[in-house]
């Protein structure tokens, strides 16, 4: 009885939920129907239902493929390096911004810092090639004018890693500060004043108040990041990568693009996609579990 009264009163709110729910059903759950392609010899003229079941044959083919392991290794390598380099960057930036006393300066630098987030990777790729090119890049022209030889930022795989990571930080660090800054405003100001009265210096205050206050946010973001460990965005490695550094720049997403969209081997591409999803799930659950154990904070 109470239930119906409640529903009659608030049904509009539930109606509002229909749209986001429909989004998930149509774009997230609907496509799962296609996962069966991984177990079929997919022929697109016969459609999903008309194609023959082949069991795990496609999985065997993928796991025997040389490229799969290379791209898997690269995906993990780039993501782990990215985690080490790009994860702390927004945290440090946020703390620094938080310590700034001039509001106008803080606002200005925050805006400048997160503008790169809105630039598409395709454009960033163009900029990177202009700036870091060996023969006519801005940086190498500058180095040459100082009498140094050219640095192959884009064509040597080790230097390329640096370029890849640096552009990642440049693009995402500013945007990443937003969550931390939001969490920081939630810390009770009295704590800082009390600490100052007690004679705690700036570093001590950061260490004992700011960082513990951000613990939950850090844990949440870390879990999300770990969940994406095996997934990797397509644009960044595809755009920044090139034939000369394929040893490092070829990752699972570009591999899926090549086999699926370019070569029309949808079955193999689906297998890799499914593999990524399963491993990703394991990572999220694992990270969540570890986080609960260590900090009592989890997101699930």
């Amino acid at each position: 009885m109470r239930g119906t009264v409640y529903l009659r009163r608030y049904w509009q709110l539930y109606a509002l939920l229909v749209l986001p729910l429909a989004y998930f059903v149509i774009f997230k759950y609907g496509p799962m129907w296609g996962v069966q392609i991984a177990f079929k010899d997919f022929n697109f003229f016969q459609g999903i239902m008309g194609s023959e079941w082949i069991g795990l044959d496609a999985f065997r083919e993928v796991f025997h493929s040389h490229d799969f392991f290379k791209t898997l290794r690269n995906t993990l390598m780039l993501n782990i390096l990215d985690l080490i380099v790009s994860f702390p960057a927004p945290l440090i930036l946020a703390i620094m911004l938080f310590e700034v006393k001039f509001q106008w300066f803080k606002r200005l630098s925050q805006t400048i810092l997160y503008i790169p987030h809105f630039i598409s990777w395709v454009i960033i790729g163009g900029i990177v090639y202009q700036v870091f090119g060996t023969q006519s890049g801005l940086v190498n022209n500058f180095l040459a004018s100082l009498g140094f030889g050219p640095v192959p930022f884009l064509s040597d795989k080790h230097y390329w890693l640096f370029t890849y990571l640096a552009t990642g930080v440049w693009q995402s660090a500013g945007w990443g500060t937003i969550l931390y800054l939001a969490a920081l405003t939630g810390i009770n100001r009295d704590l800082f004043e009390a600490a100052e009265v007690d004679g705690a210096g700036r570093l001590k205050r950061i260490w004992h108040i700011t960082l513990p206050g951000l613990k939950t946010t850090i844990a949440t973001l870390l879990i999300i990041n770990l969940g994406n460990m095996i997934a990797i965005g397509f644009d960044r490695p595809f755009v920044i990568g090139n034939k000369m550094v394929m040893d490092y720049s070829d990752v699972l997403s570009t591999y899926v693009y090549r086999t699926g969209l370019e070569s029309g081997q949808y079955t193999l591409a689906t297998v890799v996609g499914l593999f990524q999803a399963v491993v990703g799930l394991i990572f999220v659950l694992g990270a969540n579990y570890a986080s609960r154990k260590l900090t009592d904070e989890g997101i699930l």
């Binding site: 229909v18 003229f45 459609g47 023969q135 000369m244 070569s263």
Partner: protein, 545 residues
């Protein structure tokens, strides 16, 4: 917020949101049924897919069309002078409504895969240059067998193409594609800065060794006064730049080697396993390590950097698709703006072990024109192509209006270079509309060449003609195999990437690491499908013997 919102307001908001989601769900369905009745799926069998067009009811014929994003106003890609011309001269008299389906040129294969997979939404006429894609569709049974339809409606078409070109569309004895036809089979020419040679008092190189000496001189003496920016040999990771160099190293081979060791990936043959390939890479490596070719050639996948370098006057020698430099507003014209005294002339110095200027050429076929099995208008599609193949229609589609776009001289349509822009714009994409032909057709090879050359700015026509003649000298004609190599359709596209990676790795290794770089790249290539192709070709060769 919620409790304060008036009931009426929140109600209407919810209603709007709900109806929006309904609307979007509907609209995604309505498109696919427009124009034609519900599709019969794959059940319509080949040959009987015709529907009587003359019997009153108008049918819609959907034709794929490359969109290069270069449509001049006031036209749109699907509504231009040529699409109207086709509707008025072919569509309306036959009671057919022509509908052109634009596909972005650069994503052609990906988009085509998606269209084909959609079944009912696919155009009635689709095409690709990629033979691996054609083989894949054929193998999966997605194409209409055109043998009977060609006999019934395609007499002009058969005359135009001839058996040579038609043979390229046969798969397992069935005519599953109508190949376009190429008028000029040449591909590449080399070009050198003659003014640099003059400045150094050197004569034009005639062999690969002389070319090497010239490149060294370009680097050391910098005759173009580029201030150390000189790139003796402009290089990219595009076929037009690496192919001529590599193929000039390929050694004479037996028929068996030619058959078993060639790898056909996409529409081109690749010499990965042919004798001499390693020598080519070794030379490449030497050029790279001595700083004679573009340092970032491995990054230049669309010739953008090379084009810039040529136009800035820092490139001394390059190989390129033979006509590319000489178009109006092309690289040469832009080079002359930077360096008015520059001379960039065709030359043919790369020589093989027999002293010939060996280089690859095109097969006599152009793209693979296909009619998907789900199409209900296969007969109309063949009629359309047959109409296009008639010489007066092809002349009109390729050249526009006589007296306005061109003048006829000795049976050659000569483009009027002084025609106003809006007249020129009429036929801006004739190459993409006339899918049956690559290049202009007048019915005679020499005349085709003259007609082609006549389309260039007068000042460059002589050079263009010279480049054209170089491009057809000592060519390797591609080998036609009447049975598809399955491994090639499966691995072809991915192996093309591997092949370029191979070149880059071997070329950029330190000289003492060349051997190991070559070995590991070859291993990678073989594991990624190269071995499978080799095995299948070897087996096929033995069966044929």
């Amino acid at each position: 917020m919620a409790p304060k919102m008036t009931k009426a307001a929140s109600l209407s908001l919810a209603a709007v949101l709900a109806s929006m989601s309904l609307l979007s769900a509907c609209s995604s369905n309505s498109n696919s049924n427009a124009g034609n009745a519900a599709s019969g799926g794959g059940s319509a069998s080949a040959g009987t897919a015709s529907s009587p067009a003359a019997s009153g009811k108008q049918v819609t014929l959907k034709v794929e069309l490359f969109d290069r994003g270069n449509t001049p106003s006031p036209y749109t890609i699907t509504n231009s002078y040529l699409t109207k011309y086709i509707q008025d001269n072919f569509g309306t008299p036959n009671n057919i409504k022509m509908e052109f389906v634009p596909v972005p040129r650069s994503e052609e294969i990906k988009k085509l895969n998606v269209l084909m997979a959609s079944g009912s939404d696919v155009p009635d006429i689709v095409f690709t240059y990629d033979s691996a894609t054609f083989n894949r569709y054929a193998q999966q049974g997605g194409l209409t067998d055109l043998t009977d339809l060609l006999n019934q409606y395609g007499s002009n078409l058969k005359t135009f193409l001839g058996d040579d070109a038609l043979a390229y569309g046969v798969y397992d004895g069935k005519q599953l594609a109508i190949p376009g036809k190429r008028s000029i089979l040449g591909k590449y020419s080399s070009f050198i800065r003659t003014d640099w040679l003059d400045a150094l008092g050197m004569k034009a190189p005639t062999t690969t060794q002389e070319l090497y000496d010239t490149l060294v001189a370009f680097k050391e003496k910098d005759p173009g006064k580029t201030g150390g920016k000189v790139i003796p040999y402009g290089m990219t990771i595009e076929p037009a730049q690496y192919d001529p160099l590599i193929w000039s190293f390929i050694k004479p081979m037996t028929d068996e080697q030619r058959f078993t060791l060639t790898q056909k990936l996409g529409s081109n043959e690749y010499p990965t396993l042919l004798p001499g390939f390693k020598d080519a890479l070794q030379f490449y490596n030497k050029l790279y390590n001595e700083g004679l070719i573009s340092k970032d050639f491995g990054l230049d996948k669309d010739k953008k950097q090379l084009t810039q370098d040529v136009q800035n006057g820092v490139v001394g020698f390059l190989t390129e698709d033979y006509p590319n430099l000489y178009y109006a507003d092309g690289s040469y014209e832009n080079l002359l703006k930077t360096v008015p005294t520059a001379k960039l002339d065709p030359i043919d110095p790369l020589t093989n072990s027999e002293g010939k200027h060996a280089k690859p050429a095109y097969a006599p076929n152009g793209m693979y024109i296909m009619i998907p099995k789900s199409s209900e208008h296969a007969a109309e599609a063949v009629k359309y192509l047959d109409w296009m193949a008639q010489s007066e229609n092809m002349l009109a589609l390729q050249n526009g209006v006589e007296g306005e776009n061109y003048e006829m001289k000795d049976g050659i349509p000569i483009v009027k270079t002084d025609a106003p822009q809006d007249v020129v714009d009429r036929i801006y994409n004739y190459g993409d509309i006339v899918i049956l032909a690559n290049g202009k057709f007048t019915g005679d090879e020499e005349k085709d060449k003259q007609a082609f050359a006549a389309g260039f700015p007068p000042a460059y026509q002589q050079n263009l003609r010279k480049a054209l003649d170089i491009s057809v000298t000592d060519t390797f004609a591609p080998l036609l195999i009447d049975r598809p190599i399955e491994a090639e359709s499966k691995y072809g596209t991915a192996l093309q990437d591997k092949y370029e990676e191979f070149i880059v790795k071997a070329a950029t290794a330190k000289p003492d690491k060349f051997e190991s770089a070559y070995e590991s790249a070859l291993k990678d290539y073989m594991q990624s499908g190269g071995q499978a192709i080799l095995d299948e070709r070897t087996k096929l060769y033995q069966e044929k013997k």
